[in-house]
Symmetry: C2
Subunit: 455 residues, 2 copies
């Protein structure tokens, strides 16, 4: 592996030299040997001048492979396309796998999309137009129409012939989908089955009629879970009548799983997006500030709540000592409950159980952890401050706070999920701040009530 | 999709009925039609009595497919195996894909492993023994030895014959690896290439000599990243001399990506493990309590710090009002910086940049967010409390706190990474508590220093 990386780095130097010395043959020889991922990695690092040379050196088809491998979050598609000759760009888009071309076109204005589609050859344009309709994050938006389909009343031998013809353009050849006259999905046959069975066998004899499918409007997370659970390399996408519309391949699903996980993670930490491309502190600050400002105002609200108990505080200053402890514990336990709830929703567990049951379970968990932490705190405060009433006050506050905070941590994302809002937006710091407020109210409320025992 | 799920649910009822009425034919007919994932899902839900019936109804080979699809985190392998006849269990393990069998055996005592390997047929036992050597979370631990390899001096036609023979046992047939006499990896040919080229072509003419490989000791996260970037369906695993040892298939990598993401996520929230199988509040509480107790004592330490400033607090009770705000903001910003650092380490970005540069960048981010939040707070507190000195005190505390907390959030995981400790163990609540302490020291330190302006 490190060998491979060293090799790619050496080649990069030669490629840069070939570009600056205008040596097209040398460039093509090295570049076309590379994996498209490495090609793309080099391409995005080039200066505009060198990129313009690359457009001259490569065919639209060769450039398409590079474009397919530029990472989604680069956001530079528009700039690259504007640098190209429009005809070149349109042909390149037409040569890309339709799902990847759609990803690129989704970043552009409608006018630009329309003009590229006009120049492109009709078949490719038609495929892309169909895919452009589907909403983001659905099965339709990540599927491709470049699959191989056959009819059941043929032998494996003739299926193999079809496969040989279509293989160069299909995104996967490892599953062949069997459709009826009505274009409805009737079965699936894997290339493995095609190879190990006798060539004169009929497809209908070996095909698997039990096809796992996803509906075109299904959430991409749901598709990912299915592909992961069943270890498929591709899944067919159908409409509500069972017509085959396209397929989703495992490489796209790997990206989805990675994206969604990173998304949940970012939200738990209250950052909009962990973008490894934001090099400077200014762009990082810009991304984090919106969250911080919101949390700042929520924090001011917490402060104003404590302000209402100033009289209590004036009389018993020691109370202030335990504010961060109680608020902190509420935040911690709420974050735990939140993370469990978000993960349970993500793995589909939430569908199988009622909200009520899950919240009840969390309430139980909160009560148990609260009781144990409460007893520990009461003892520690008693030993430290020599005041059993203060100990009991802090202990009971911890008990009540942990119970309520655990319920809130679980309940808020579940409710959001039912309301079809992504539960992960209820980020850790957000839940923490909510729980700060709850804990302050409990703590100072109780302190004010039982003031006589504390003075 | 929902059709499919309904169908599986209906079948489950029939299967349970068949088990209780001891109808073996009926059971086998329905069960063997199901996808192994659904089979496994049903199996783990059964009572012991029904499981014992299943062992009687299925062959070791059929049971192997079920076992391969039991989720790793189920931890029940040992119980299931102990219920089976040892010979049946050994044969079943021998029939499983070697990498999956190793996952199961890794959960058992060495004695048990040895006894199963003794009963098993020699070839399977040998393969498993080799794989058992590799350390967890390395490429070696997730690879399988069931790949297809050929020599270069043959035609595609004869390669196809080999493939047909080996297809039933190989984990993937979509890549065929070309090895030299020394068993060194010399090239790779995809089944696609095999099919679209003429049968009398020599393998050496069409094979790709540029094979992307991973070393056997490589971290599984590194393998996952490579597979994701290059969109491979399988990656060959080699030793330091370039000998082919095994392959890693994309379905295992999908699990790795999911596991690692879930792991990072859990740690950010300070929960040991999000296990969707822990149904009861007691087991949930048991998992969360260790973290809560640690955080409780860290919180008590924070409280004792504030206790040292009791005199200051006694004089200016209003100071207490802003404790949760300042501590909370420190926690939030620290969690953001932590999450960014952990993700950057996870995507391999940390290797490319020096620790110093990354921390410097975070310091800049902290300074910018701190300045802006500090100004906002100063103004709000001034308007609200009518005290410009209090405003400036809280504002400067926020500025200092955010800067330090951001640096701490980034620096701690980076240092852990350099020390080869998983940076994700520096969980959100842990960083939050550290930053609570820092913020309290800054705030009360400054308040005590500038006391004369506040009274």
């Amino acid at each position: 592996m490190s060998d491979e990386r060293e090799k790619v780095e050496l080649e990069e130097e030669s490629l840069l030299a070939a570009l600056s010395s205008q040596n097209m043959d040398e460039f093509r020889e090295i570049f076309l040997e590379q994996h498209p991922y490495d090609q793309a990695k080099l391409f995005v690092k080039l200066e505009e001048e060198d990129r313009n040379t690359v457009y001259k050196y490569l065919s639209p088809e060769e450039m398409a492979a590079v474009f397919e491998n530029i990472e989604d979050d680069d956001d530079q598609y528009e700039m690259f396309l504007s640098e190209m000759d429009p005809t070149f760009a349109a042909h390149m888009l037409g040569q890309m796998y339709a799902d990847d071309a759609v990803d690129v076109l989704n970043e552009l204005d409608k006018d630009q999309v329309a003009s590229y589609l006009t120049i492109m050859d009709d078949e490719a344009a038609e495929e892309i137009r169909e895919l452009l309709h589907y909403e983001e994050y659905t099965a339709g938006s990540i599927m491709t129409t470049e699959y191989i389909s056959i009819h059941a009343n043929q032998t494996l031998h003739s299926a193999m012939q079809i496969l040989k013809n279509e293989a160069p353009n299909a995104e996967t050849i490892y599953y062949i989908y069997v459709i009826d006259e009505d274009k409805k999905l009737a079965g699936v046959i894997s290339l493995r089955d095609l190879i190990i069975n006798e060539p004169d066998t009929m497809i209908s004899e070996v095909m698997n009629e039990r096809v796992y499918t996803v509906s075109v409007a299904e959430d991409q997370e749901e598709v990912a879970r299915k592909m992961k659970d069943y270890n498929f390399l591709a899944l067919p996408v159908i409409d509500f009548r069972g017509h085959l519309l396209g397929i989703i391949t495992v490489d796209d699903i790997v990206d989805v799983i990675d994206e969604e996980a990173s998304d949940d993670y970012s939200k738990l930490a209250a950052i909009s997006d962990v973008d490894s491309n934001d090099r400077g502190p200014f762009s990082a600050a810009k991304k984090r500030l919106p969250w911080l400002i919101i949390l700042l105002f929520l924090g001011m609200f917490t402060a104003s709540l404590i302000g209402r108990f100033e009289e209590t505080l004036d009389k018993v200053a020691i109370l202030a000592v335990f504010i961060p402890l109680i608020a902190g514990m509420a935040g911690n336990t709420g974050t735990q409950a939140l993370a469990v709830a978000v993960r349970r929703i993500a793995v589909g567990d939430a569908q199988e159980q009622s909200t009520f049951k899950m919240v009840l379970r969390e309430a139980g968990t909160g009560l148990i952890t609260g009781t144990i932490c409460g007893i520990v705190v009461t003892l520690v405060v008693f030993v430290w401050q020599g005041d059993i009433f203060l100990g009991i006050l802090v202990g009971i506050s911890i008990l009540a706070t942990l119970t309520v905070a655990t319920i809130a941590g679980a309940f808020i994302p579940l409710i959001m999920h039912r309301l079809k809002v992504d539960p992960a937006v209820a980020s850790g710091p957000f839940i923490t701040t909510i729980n700060d407020i709850i804990s302050i109210l409990i703590y100072f409320g109780m302190a004010t009530l039982f003031m006589q025992y504390l003075i």
